[in-house]
């Protein structure tokens, strides 16, 4: 974080956190309402409340631009709520709402980056005001205000004057309550008024200026302060009951079935959720990781090996169980559903469809799938690029769709699902599919492949779209065509150890799947020894391990070793050869074969020895090493019980044995 404001000020941080959350919730609600093309009372209530909170906290942080914009939108919804039956021009209405929300979003963003929120909300305010004017004046709702009147110091009999004022004002407006309440009977109240002023709550259809004018007609008034009141939270206490009944209460009553539920529903939300700095979580995670190692260090200690004590073993097992649970809990704290990420995409698609004049339907499946917080941050950008590409390049124009007999509206499907230790995120469009010939032609023109390069498989051709600078678009649009997006997507996903798979069927659409690891932190691993080095294989990818028999070995003409297992033939992978380390057994029958599977492909890895299974904390390789040379086969490293380091192998890279040789285009990226 660069901004001095953003980190130093916990209040501001809290504000940003809250506002961002509210904005996200609002966005979701808007999208829901827009697709339904109506507002139900519940949604209106929710939007109203959220906007009110945003306004209030922005005002508290004296960020006036946000406060003003939120205020006018709040007004808008106030009117909508009060006139729920009135017809609305939904297109204009939603445009207004989106504009307003975007404005608030941009301003919030500015603050987060340590800049001043210097946007001018007057455009939005004017637009909303214009829209509001379309409501007929007589349906204008009553607004509530809190007025504080101070009388001139030496006027005396303040209580009587106040009583007269109330009496006078009742001609023009409704006076709901006042403080002190006993002005008519109690002369002592004059003293209180002199000290604190005379405070009353009123309701009126008129504008603030007019109300002020009414009040100021009375003699001996020194000062009048008027401020709008929306709910009891800002109203003073003794008046709150009557105020609640008349304004907030009546508003809530209109929400048919949930008048009393609102406060009840909100309360547990406040008390059961706390927001925690991610840094702290990271630290906790690290500590738990260290603890897992320490636990292994203690319970598997050399000198304990010969101790036969049932009691000790029991205690050790207990300790292990607790550490395991602790780990699970810490992990689960960090897991966040993809909902918000998908919602963001929903928004992107909606906006793009509007701007490009394409009709787009969005289908979202499995948004509740949970992924580690760190990973979510990393995939948001790539996903956005993929979605943009799908809408811009993937979907045809409505005319084209009509002529090819497809439904007019294109469909973008966003899907997330768990697949073993990975999460699959799928972006699917039902557009025209990738045009292989066109991709090849562009790649040739842009010099990414040579005329004489060998026959490329479909997959390799599709992968060309991830090269930096590659674009089949002749014209650069607002959304795509510069050839940057897919490259960024590819790199980001690769960075977190994920992969991108492209499938496409000409005429019926493209599917791009992101395969990302569920978490980067802790895995179940099998420690193995090859030559002098220790490695760890994720247990999830291990199918079985066995001692090979000499008669099951096969050799193909190139001398590649293979083994028959239950009538199936699997390639044998020698880690030392693959990684150029050397020093392992040459004789297969002396080693152990570990069969690993990834994406339906199986490979038997030859290892010297299995050292045992253990939960390991994945640490990334030092950035320096990654910089010098990214090693595909290594997913990271971990500390073993004795403090030594073990390298964690990436089964996906091992299985796709010839990955580097096969995709020349992609390997040249590095």
């Amino acid at each position: 974080m660069s901004g001095s404001m953003s980190t130093d000020d916990p209040l501001l941080e809290m504000y940003l956190f809250e506002s961002t959350q509210l904005i996200e919730q609002l966005e979701a609600t808007f999208l829901r309402c827009e697709s339904a093309n109506s507002f139900n009372t519940e949604a209106i209530g929710e939007i109203f409340r959220h906007m009110h909170t945003i306004k209030g906290s922005a005002a508290m942080m004296s960020i006036m631009s946000i406060s003003e914009a939120a205020h006018i939108i709040e007004d808008l919804f106030y009117r909508i709520r009060e006139n729920s039956s009135a017809p609305h021009d939904f297109d204009t209405l939603f445009e207004l709402i989106w504009d307003g929300l975007d404005f608030i979003k941009v301003e919030t963003h500015k603050i987060r980056n340590g800049n001043q929120a210097d946007g001018d909300p007057s455009g939005i305010v004017a637009a909303v005001t214009r829209y509001l004017e379309t409501f007929s004046a007589d349906t204008a709702p009553e607004y509530s205000y809190e007025a504080t009147v101070t009388f001139t110091p030496d006027c005396l009999m303040e209580n009587v004057r106040a009583y007269a004022l109330v009496h006078q004002l009742r001609e023009y407006m409704t006076i709901i309550s006042f403080i002190p309440e006993d002005i008519a009977e109690n002369e002592q109240s004059a003293e209180a008024i002199r000290k604190n002023g005379f405070v009353f709550i009123l309701q009126s259809r008129e504008a603030e200026e007019q109300i002020m004018a009414h009040i100021e007609q009375t003699a001996y008034i020194q000062e009048v302060r008027l401020s709008p009141v929306y709910d009891t939270a800002t109203a003073f206490e003794s008046a709150s009951t009557s105020e609640w009944d008349r304004t907030a209460g009546s508003q809530r009553d209109k929400n048919s079935d949930s008048p009393k539920q609102m406060p009840v529903m909100r309360e547990p939300l406040v008390s059961s959720m706390i927001s925690v700095n991610v840094d702290k979580l990271d630290k906790l995670m690290d500590l738990v990781g260290e603890m897992v190692i320490a636990e292994a260090m203690v319970t598997q200690h050399e000198s304990l090996r010969n101790i036969v004590s049932e009691h000790f073993l029991k205690s050790a097992a207990h300790l292990r169980k607790i550490t395991g649970e602790l780990q699970d809990v810490v992990m689960s704290i960090r897991m966040v559903p993809l909902t918000t990420t998908f919602q963001k995409m929903h928004r992107v698609i909606r906006d793009m469809g509007k701007n490009l004049g394409k009709e787009v339907q969005i289908q979202i499946n499995g948004e509740e799938t949970e992924v580690d917080k760190n990973i979510i941050e990393q995939i948001s950008d790539p996903l956005m690029h993929l979605v943009r590409n799908a809408v811009d390049h993937g979907l045809e124009s409505s005319q084209e769709r009509a002529s090819s007999g497809k439904p007019l509206a294109g469909t973008i499907t966003l899907e997330a699902k768990n697949a073993g230790s990975d999460v699959l995120i799928i972006v699917k469009d039902d557009g025209k599919g990738l045009d292989k010939a066109k991709i090849m032609r562009r790649a040739l023109e842009q010099g990414m492949i040579q005329e004489d390069s060998p026959e490329l498989s479909d997959k390799e051709i599709y992968n060309l779209i991830f090269l930096p600078g590659f674009s089949t678009k002749e014209d650069v649009t607002q959304y795509s065509g510069r050839g940057v997006g897919m490259d960024v997507a590819f790199r980001n996903i690769e960075q977190i150890g994920g992969a991108i798979l492209v499938e496409s069927l000409p005429g019926s659409g493209t599917t791009i799947s992101l395969k990302i690891p569920l978490t980067l932190a802790i895995i179940d691993g099998m420690n193995i020894k090859v030559g002098g080095s220790h490695y760890t294989l994720p247990t999830t990818s291990i199918q079985e391990s066995f001692k090979p028999k000499a008669q099951d070995l096969l050799y193909d003409p190139d001398g590649n070793e293979m083994i028959m297992v239950r009538g199936e033939c699997f390639p044998i992978l020698r880690l030392d050869e693959r990684l150029n380390t050397g020093g392992s057994t040459c004789n297969i029958s002396q080693g152990v074969l570990v069969m690993i599977q990834q994406d339906e492909r199986k490979v038997c890895v030859l290892v010297d020895e299995l050292l045992g299974q253990q939960q390991v904390v994945v640490k990334t390789l030092p950035p320096y090493i990654k910089k010098i040379k990214p090693i595909k086969e290594l997913a990271g490293c971990t500390l073993l019980g004795d403090g030594s380091i073990s390298l964690i192998l990436d089964p996906a890279a091992l299985v796709s044995g010839a990955v580097r040789a096969r995709t020349p285009a992609l390997s040249s990226l590095h």
Binding site: H534, L621, P622, Y624, I625, I628, C637, S644, H670
Partner: protein, 165 residues
């Protein structure tokens, strides 16, 4: 309040200024700016990482933190020498990258005034670019390392190597 960390930093910078940690590689004595140095440890078990240049010996576990180690001898294309109990790993922190430098022996911390530092002669030697200056202290000469180059230069080497493949 807000000033104090800055002032502290300035003071610290000041006290570190012109100070060099000197170490030996064979018969030569090198110096490295002390502000880069985090700690000095003895040689411990190094886990080799495959497919890296020869001079990156592997990674070590520094109290739970995993850092790469570089054999400075091999970096300068000098012959490898077995590690012994004089061999040290100097842990340096350069632009948020931690790395251990394996050297024959650590000598001392000394102050070399800027006036006593001259630019290296313009010889066309590989190790030359890693030397930012030559410091004189009494009648001895120390080669002052340019840490940035030491860490970052192989990027281009690496790229050109890929180009050849």
């Amino acid at each position: 309040m807000k000033q104090s960390p800055l002032q502290d930093l300035e003071l610290e910078e000041d006290s570190l200024k012109n100070k060099y940690l000197t170490f030996a590689l064979g018969s030569e004595v090198y110096g490295i700016e002390i502000r880069y140095v985090t700690e000095i440890i003895g040689v411990q078990s190094i886990t080799p990482v495959p497919e890296l240049p020869e001079y990156i010996k592997g990674i070590i576990n520094l109290r739970g933190k995993i850092i790469p180690v570089m054999d400075v001898r091999l970096r300068f294309r000098k012959p490898f020498r077995e590690y012994n109990d004089r061999t040290c790993i100097i842990v340096v922190d350069i632009k948020e990258i931690s790395i251990g430098l394996i050297v024959d022996a650590v000598a001392e911390v000394m102050t070399i005034e800027e006036s006593n530092i001259v630019s290296p002669p313009d010889l066309n030697q590989l190790s030359r670019r890693y030397i930012q200056g030559i410091g004189k202290s009494g009648d001895e000469v120390k080669l002052l390392l340019n840490c940035d180059e030491l860490l970052n230069h192989q990027e281009t080497e690496n790229l050109s190597a890929i180009g050849q493949v």
